[in-house]
Symmetry: D4
Subunit: 251 residues, 8 copies
């Protein structure tokens, strides 16, 4: 915004642009309005590599419409989250779509090359947590990260976790996904020295309260270096992990 504004001001100064045009220009938002959505064309630049469509509550037609505008504006990768099987099937008839069923993610366009600083480890406590973990893992991959999956390694079976000590120690970011008592991030946070993103899942019953138990555990983690995202928010964890993994490194 800063630089754009300078350009505009310079054009006003030079007379290339009238004051009213400048005002109009500054108000013109960098998005295209296609009725049911304002497609944000500069977000790619401002926020990351791939453009993301939050899929819940949208129709296949809308996905196609939004993706069209994006592709026309030279967006190389479009990632659709929370995409149901049948919607994916409908889109596939119009556009080339890679569909990741467990993750409920569809990807239009090509996968980016893996250019992060290191490898992101995605771990789960149980098998029921895998869909959320896959949402995180595929998101991270679509944003240019190498991902290592370590599933079903819950704290009630410590030896499984300890068996992968090397992968844990060598990761640059760890995404720890767990429902029920949500202790995985604490245990991992205690043995690793990289940032840990905790993802509570709604897996459980009774006093798990749809993920609240796991969420509270993660927020109260006695291991430092842990932060949490919303319940079942695999996408958010993958996105944040990618940002961390793409940090500009001096050394």
């Amino acid at each position: 915004m800063g630089c754009d504004m300078r350009d505009v001001l310079n054009m006003v100064k030079s007379g290339e642009m009238s004051v009213d045009d400048a005002l109009r220009h500054m108000k013109k938002a960098p998005f295209e309005d296609i009725g049911y959505a304002k497609v944000d064309l500069h977000r790619g630049l401002r926020q990351g590599t791939a453009e993301i469509i939050y899929g819940a509550g949208k129709t296949p037609e809308q996905f196609i419409g939004i993706a069209d505008v994006m592709l026309k504006n030279e967006q190389k990768t479009v990632l659709i989250t929370r995409l149901a099987n049948d919607a994916a099937a409908e889109i596939s008839e119009k556009l080339e779509l890679s569909y990741f069923e467990q993750a409920k993610i569809g990807i239009i366009g090509q996968m980016p090359e893996k250019d992060g600083n290191g490898r992101i480890l995605v771990a789960t406590g149980g098998t029921s947590d895998i869909p959320v973990a896959e949402e995180a893992a595929v998101t991270a991959e679509a944003l240019g990260n190498e991902v290592f999956r370590l599933y079903d390694a819950g704290v009630a079976g410590l030896h499984r976790l300890l068996a992968h000590m090397d992968e844990i120690m060598s990761a640059s970011v760890i995404i720890a996904v767990a429902g029920m008592e949500g202790a995985l991030p604490s245990v991992i946070g205690g043995i690793s020295d990289c940032p840990v993103i905790a993802v509570p899942t709604s897996v459980g019953y009774g006093a798990s309260f749809g993920g609240v138990s796991a969420l509270l555990s993660m927020l109260n983690s006695c291991a430092a270096g842990v932060a949490a995202v919303n319940i079942d928010n695999g996408f958010g964890a993958g996105f944040l992990a990618s940002r961390i993994n793409h940090m500009e490194v001096k050394r």
Copy 2:
């Protein structure tokens, strides 16, 4: 109650007791009423070795009064929970009292011999959990159990826990005390094969909500063989552990 009733009925049958006397007898509760409390004299028989006085909200005079009745009725050990320092000091002037400051427990009379089936292990996640753990440990000792303490062995420092694998594996009952994310019982439950009593503590701040976070973790433990008592209820855990440890064993 069953046997008592049979005796009464036999006396009615033999004419030793009138019907009205029998009715009166059956209604006469086995406790002594000293105004501010009904001292339950048969509870020792019905529930355990030592008689327990829940101390919160009672005055030193009341403690002494209740203990007097108990001791007169041949109760050997009287355990007072949640006993404040100054109340303990006042009682000490009248009765011989052993006071355990961290546990806030006072014991009048002699400590019973250790006659349980095995050893009770009391573990804590952090140092702040120790008062609750001590309440559990001293309770268990006052009820005739050998106790092993393993404090400050939280899941964020797994190696500390693993360093005491032997004590964990050889315990007959484990009391796992933890605040914050309350993951200790799950981790211990995963590596031991004895009953685990989980005690959430109110240690923590913010989203620990006074122990709710730890409590939920414990109720949602993915390790089987774990049950929880109320937040900060060290006494309840020690009492239950003692019952388990005194179970009549066939083999």
Copy 3:
């Protein structure tokens, strides 16, 4: 884990095993990975008699696959919890399965002999609590315990409970299952002198909040010797009761 490690170290010392092999061995987890699950082959040794499969969210094919691996590894009893009727029917076509419909438990293999220290009593407050109670009872039976059922004996009809005083007094462990106000464990805890495992159920409506009311009652029980498991967690209660009922003298 301790002993295994000693064996490995001895073999390293004697030259029977190279350092690298030892390291590899120690990292090799004692489970078989069959894609959708890591089948834990040593858990039988570490945790109990029967192997347990948590059934929620698994397909009949997965059950059969996991059970196959287990049976091949000489597991005698495999217990599947939360197994739906139709999944049970499908499995029955491939493997010999005893299906307990109310408990939603399927058992592959033979039932173990009843070798506990005493009898486990499973009581419920109402008829709607029976499915959870059956989950507890069948689990306990599959783990080698004799079980006595005392259903529909809620506190609003005390005489029903008192009519079974003998069974209550003679139990070695009691599992008290109740929804709504969840007072059963307190009442039973007051008249028995064995460990009481309280199981809140989601039976009720309105301010029962899916079992929270019963859970809180149980955690706040004024009877000592009571601990609670998660809402509707009949399995957990049966498993813990079995552990208590199989306690050995470790002196």
Copy 4:
């Protein structure tokens, strides 16, 4: 209000009162405004025998001022709830006040005669519930009821409760006061056939959540014939019990 209005209308009709006077009259509320409170002078007629002042947050001067207006308006009994010791002492210097310390109730004027239909039984689960029970009992007495107190009769010691079966069976209304798991009203509701008013107390700690556990238990009571008032609301229970106990035949 109905009858008053008819009188006014008749006076308007007969010319004894102008329309404007009538309007003014109807708007003139039947209370006296003394600055810090509107003293409701007709409430005695509309709601019960004694006038009640909710004491929390008022100064001794205000109590005296309000009571003065009431007494001048021929109110025979004035009941002040939640009255602290020192405020009671100050009032006593100006007005004749009977102060009930446990109940934190002060009564100015004479106690009414006991003219209810039967006897109100006030029972508590433990000794810590007694202050709330006393608030209920003294309120009921100040409203003209005979009260029988049955304290420390919690469900974990059923025999104490059963020892007073006669008093329970013969009460016209029962107020059951309990903290912690709050099971008393259910147990009493199951053995009596009169209305039971349940009063949860904030007695307890941890997961009692300041009385929420007891409140939920009472709302979920499996015994019919039970309704609950707010946590620690002894006054409300005593007031309602008095209303029930003073019911008239209206056929």
Copy 5:
């Protein structure tokens, strides 16, 4: 229980009954066990006029079986709550059943005569609260009470309520049913002088939290003389109102 026990004791004394028979007799609960339920045959005597079956979760066959036992034991009125339309239709083929569709109540046998002390008023805030109100009203009618219905008289339209001042003032018990903000009982409690039973309903959305908002309002009512039952518990309110309305009155 008292009297029965005396009879038994007298028979023991006179030799008409052996001690063992007496014990057996006392343990024999006054209910018939028909497998899926323990039909309580003395509850009619102990608790009220009609016998009640809580309908949720029972099959038509079970209803018929239970009702059969009851009718054979000379129960004149059997009331089934929470009875679905189709279950009612099935029962109607076997037994004479009056079905109240809004109330979801079925009644087998004859309606009792109205023998209460006065009239019960059932009021609702809105039209959506009517099913719960009907459950209360029909329950009260089946227990021998005259009922006056005053529906859709919420506090946002005060004039509707004031239009029925006479009915409010002349009721012997009032059941005030309301969802959303649940203010009706407070307003009614302020203008009537009889006991008010407040029934919160789950009517509402968003921050009504399934009736919690209304429940809290009712518990916090600034009008004295109000007590609350569980959310949507029309039956409980009708039952309690009947008990109050059938109180033995001295005057």
Copy 6:
């Protein structure tokens, strides 16, 4: 009510009306009772322009019946909220109905002219909030207001919001609709100087708790001049905005 009463009193004075008639008149509520509802005929006068029917839980026949009475009583606009598609279709066969599908609002009769003081701006954070926003917008239009819609302008894309600074600054009332973190009203409240009505929506998942997260944000807004309505209560916001926008000078 005040004026009506004066008329009645004058007629009583003049003898035109008997006292009993006057009383009857005053009790006669200004509504027509059509069985399933009391149609409030004076509410138009008392509360606003259009008459509103809360649609949830009513049948098409009931809508038609209520609307009939209203139209006969010269109500020009009848607004039905929460009207499902198929109910709308059924009504359309009998009455001329404009149906707004996103808003789930049906309007019978003519739309009023726009006679408010200014323009109401309805803004949403995301596209999923649009149905609630439309309920607000159509309600406001049906009550005679000009509405400007600014959708999908959430705080995570500030530039979109800033692009419409003029519309924000010139609105007379703003309705800010948002789910998830609900920050929109705070941001808008910080840059505008008109009343802001915040509407939390149930859009979100996990820790949004069905709109609770957004609701709390709005109640805690650090921008002054903001008040909130219930979760998803677009109607209430539109109604209140209209009242504000139709304010008159009353000096």
Copy 7:
């Protein structure tokens, strides 16, 4: 911001301002930084008449410092909320301060003239709600509004409310303040036709949960035209009421 920007752009165009100066100007926030606070000098223009200092947690020195800057920048009225008695006393020694003790508000400078469209009515349910009501009332007065106070007019004493029907009907905005069950806004909303701002207070105990009960009631109000602010937020209500009351009116 719009107009300012145009001025800047015009100056750039005319050469009066360099591009760099323009950028610097646009970034220069319209506030003065005095270390412990950024005093917002343009907010008066942007948001209302008086400048407001939120007092909680500030020292008298800070108040004086902030007020100094404001007064120097020609702010006529400075309003300090949540100002404790002793802090007020300290400030009074340095600056002329009017202190409103119940409202905990201090005002530096002169009170503005009353230039609103009409009168704001501030009503409370009980006497304990008065401090919050006074915060609202004094805030409104300091922002140039005429205020009418109607205190202690709760719904349990409807006649008090009805006695002030005229004031309710003639208000331009109503602030309804209530704790406990919080029904006042619903009742007032049902009889008035102006915007109602509901203020829940933390008055109450037990299940009032510090104002949550009242807040929920207000959010669920069945009266349309009501919106709520945070618990005890009298200031917010007064501020919003003033905005509404100062709306530019066409007629």
Copy 8:
């Protein structure tokens, strides 16, 4: 742990170490037990630069004892969190301590050089959030990071935030600290492209529920790239930010 184990195994192989010694070595935890704490001497290596002492609930003597062990083991920087003023004063008499009063942090030893990848920006919504922000900032500085503070830049005053666009855009990690509605991280997350760590604070009143409102907002942030730590957990945020800022390239 991996490498250590290899060394040990090699020594066993070579005969340098007996099997029993190896076992003993592996069990010997890398910490020193000083009674009231187990000082973890390897954590510096495993987790970060400075050693951290969580100060809450420790005595000055304990701080000094722990710090002594650490310094003796060549720990250069020891950071004590939640250190009260007077405890700090006491420690200062024995050891050289830099005390940061707002942050409640004490630092023993020298501050490390700033060797992170970039600059950490710490922003707050209001002035009351500053203590938590300072805990984060000083923690980050003590762990070797350059920190830029941007305080009192809440979303209700957007222009203040926009005035520091450059600092926001150039940060490598952002810590956004906010109480009340907690919208700051969402707004910042929308305009920056680096990882954002959200810290809810307990600043606020009423429905802020001690920080829950802010916490929920942050978890539900519509801006991707945001994760949250516990309420008031400035230390955790600073620690995690440092880990991110010290990320290395691991390819």
